[in-house]
Amino acid sequence: MIGGRRPLQGRKPGDRRVRLERPHAPYFRYTGKGQLTARAAASAPTTPAGKTWASIRGFFVGRPLASEDEMGERLSKRKALAIFSSDAISSSAYATEEILRVLVLGGAAAMAFGLEISIAIAVLLIAVALSYRQICIAYPTGGGSYSVSRRNIGRTVSLVAASALLIDYVMTVAVSTTSAVEQITSAFPALFDERVVIGIAVLSLITLGNLRGLREAGNIFAVPTYLFIGSALLMIAVGGFRILVLGEGATYGPRLEAQVGNTIEPLTAILVLRAFAAGAVALTGTEAIATGVPAFKPPESKNAAATLGVMAALLGVLFIGLTFLAVRFGIGPVDVPAKQTVISQIAREVYGNGFLFYLFQIFTAVLLFLAANTSFNAFPRLLAILAADGHMPRQFALRGDRLAFSYGIIVLAGVAAALIWYFEGKTHALIPLYAVGVFIDFTISQSGMIRHWLRERSPGWRRRLSINAFGAALTATVAVIVTSVKFAEGAWLVIVLIPLLVGLMSFIHRQYDGQERELRVRDDGPLPGPHREQRVIIPVNGINRAVVQAVNFGRALTRDLRAVYVTDDLEAADSLRERWERQLPDVPLVIVESPFRAVISPVVAYLDILDQAWPPDKEAPLTIVVLPEYVARHWWDRLLYNQTAKRLKSALVGREHTVIADVPYRRH
C-alpha cells in the first residue's frame, strides 16, 4: 500500500490500480531536474502568531503576489507622457511662486522680472531636454544618472550621482506633498493649521498603496495629469485673452514709485540670480523619461525622445504661461492670515471663486500627490540597484509580498514625513534643499554622455557630444549658482549629505567586498571534505530525554564527545555520575564543581582549557557544543525553559573554532 490507499478495483476482474498521494503538490511543483518551485502554501506562516500577523498584513497590504505576476506593460507615448511627466509638470505649480518669493524682496516692481526669469529657465529646460534626448537614444535600457556615470565615469562619481538622486527623490516626495496640501489649504484656509497632519496622512496612504504594489501604469495616473494640463492650459488661454485682448490685469509699473524705499533688497544681479536659482526647481523630474525608456513601446528610444520633447514643451508653456499671468495680474506670495499659493490665486483670478476654481485646485493637488508617488517607484528601485551592486544593505534588493521593494518604500516615507514635520509643511522652506541635487545629477549624467560619445564614436557623435557638452556646462553652471545662492538657506545640508552618503555607500561596499573575499572558495575542481578533528561537548543538567537525544546526536558526529555537568551540589553530582556510568558508559561525564554557583563561565573556562591542552603542532579541532533543548508547548511557558542554554549560547557566539548546535526535544 502507498499513501494509506488500497488498490482500487477496476470494472473488469484483474484491472486494478493504485492512486498515489502526492504530498509535495500543495507546497511545491517540480519544474526541472532537481528543481522545485515553492507554491503559496510553502511560503505561508505555520505558527499561530505568524498566521495572525499575515492576516493583519494581508488586510492592509494585500495577499502575496508571485514574482511571475509582475506587470510588464509597455506604455504608449500618450500614457507615458502622463506617467513620467507628472513630477516635472507638477513643478510648474510652485516654481513661479519661488521666483516671485525672491523678487518680492526687491519690491513689487521687481516682480515684473519674473517673466524674463521664467523664459531664461525655459531656455535652460530646452538645453536639458535636448541633452536627455541623447541619453534616451544611447541607453534604450534606461539611462539614470547613476548607471550612465557608472558605465562612463567611475564608481565614486556614480555614487555622487546616486546620493544626489536619493536626496532628489526624498525631496520630490516632501515638496510635492507639502505643495499639494498647500493647494488644498489655499482652497480651504480653515485647514491651514492642520497641513502637517494632512500631509503625513496622505503620505501614509501613498506609502500603503505602494506597499500594496500600486503601479504607475494604470489610467488612474494618466487621467489626473491630463486634467491638470488641460485645465492649466485653459486657464492660461482665458487669462491671456483677458490680459492681451481685453486689456485686463495690472502690471507692477504703476506702483513702482510707491515701492521705492519700501524694499528689503535692491534689485541686483544677485537677487535676479537667486530668483533664477529658486525657479530652476521647475526642471526637477525632467530626467524621469530617460530613466524609464524600457517602459515605452518599441521603438523605445525614439518614442521616449519624442515624449521628452512634448513634455519639455508642455512644461515650458505652463511655466511661462503661469508666470505671465501671475505677473500681469499682480499676484504675489501670500502667507497671512493663511497661505495662498500663487497658482491658486491665478486660478481664483481666472476662474472666479466658484466650482471651476475648486476643481482646478483638486486637479493640482492630485497631480502633486502623483508626483510624490513617482518617487515611490524610483527611490526603492535605485536603492535595490545600489544594494545589488553592494553599495546598500542587501535587504533593499528584496521584494516584499506584493513585489514592491518594501524596505525602500518605508525608508522613503519615513524620511519624507520627518522633513514635512520638521519644515512644518512649508514648501518654500523645503525648496532650497531640492534643486541642488537635481542639477548635480544633470551635470554628472551629461558628463557621462560626453565620455560615452568619445568612446563610441558612432555616426553623428560629434553633434551629439556637443549637445551633451553644452548641457553639462550649462547645468554645471546652474548647479554652482543654485548651490551658492541657496547655501545658507539649506543647500549646505545637501552638500554635506552627499559626501556622507557616498562615504556610507563606499563603506558598505568595502564590507561586502571583504566578506566576499573571506568566504570565497576556489572554483577549479571538487572541494575536499572536512580535515579537522572535531569534538563534542554537551552541557547537561542530569539524565533525561532531551539530554539522551543530544548525546545520541553527538555520538553521530564524532567519537570524541563528553558531557559537562556544572554544580555546587556534590551529592547530586555523585548521584548523577553513578547513574551516568550505568546508563551512558561510553560517554565521559565531566563534573565541574562551582562553589560560586556560576554556570556559564565554568563551561566557557572548561572549553578554554580544552583548547589550551590541544597539541600545538596539530590544527585546532572544531568544538561542537551540543545544547539539549526542551521545546515548550505554549508561547507562555517558553520563559520557564532553556534560559541557561540561551545564556550559554550568547556566551559562545563568535567563539573561535566553536559551533553551537541546538537539539530540540519535542513531546509527542
Binding site: 500500500m1 502507498i2 499513501g3 488498490p7 482500487l8 477496476g10 470494472r11 473488469k12 484483474g14 484491472d15 486494478r16 490500480r17 493504485v18 492512486r19 498515489l20 498521494e21 502526492r22 509535495h24 503538490a25 511543483r29 517540480y30 519544474t31 526541472g32 531536474k33 532537481g34
Partner: protein, 152 residues
C-alpha cells in the same frame, strides 16, 4: 484557439503520457473548459510490470513522473482553470485511465497519440488508445502529434 462549435463537457479526464503533446492537450482542454467552467482531471499512469507488486513505491519517488502532472497543472493555471492531478500505478494503462474516468463520472476523455511507425513503416497506434476507444463510455478525443521530419 478554442472552437466555439466544440462539444461542451462538464468533467474531462486528460490522460498524460509525459510526452511533448501533454502541454498542447492540456492547453486545448483548458481553453474549452474555461468557457463552460468544466472540471479537468489530469491522469498519469505508471505501468508496473508483473515482477513488482502493484503498490510498490515506483512512481511516488520519481521526480520525472511528478513533473508530468506538475507541468500540466502549471499550464492549466496559466489558462486560469483548475486541474486535479491524479497519479496512478497499474498493470494496464488503458484500463486504469478508463476506470478512473468512469469512477470520476467524466463525460470526456482526452488522450494524446504520438505519431510512431513500426518497423516496416506502418503507423503504430499502440494498445492503449484502441482499448480506450473500445471501452470508455464517454466521448473520447484523440489528439495525434503532428508528423515530424524524423517520423515522416
Amino acid at each position: 484557439m478554442p472552437d466555439a462549435e466544440a462539444p461542451s463537457f462538464r468533467r474531462a479526464v486528460v490522460a498524460l503520457n509525459g510526452g511533448p503533446s501533454d502541454e498542447r492537450i492540456v492547453r486545448l482542454v483548458a481553453q474549452n473548459a474555461r468557457l463552460t467552467k468544466a472540471e479537468i482531471i489530469a491522469v498519469h499512469v505508471v505501468e508496473i510490470d508483473w515482477t513488482l507488486p502493484l503498490d510498490s513505491d515506483v512512481a511516488g519517488r520519481s521526480e520525472d513522473v511528478q513533473r508530468v502532472l506538475d507541468a500540466a497543472e502549471a499550464v492549466a493555471e496559466a489558462s486560469k482553470v483548475k486541474l486535479e492531478p491524479v497519479l496512478l500505478q497499474a498493470r494496464d494503462v488503458g484500463a486504469a485511465i478508463v476506470d478512473e474516468a468512469v469512477e470520476r463520472g467524466a463525460d470526456l476523455l482526452v488522450v494524446g497519440l504520438p505519431y510512431r511507425k513500426r518497423f516496416g513503416g506502418e503507423f503504430a497506434i499502440g494498445r492503449t488508445i484502441p482499448y480506450i476507444l473500445q471501452n470508455a463510455p464517454s466521448a473520447v478525443w484523440v489528439l495525434r502529434d503532428p508528423i515530424s521530419e524524423e517520423t515522416r
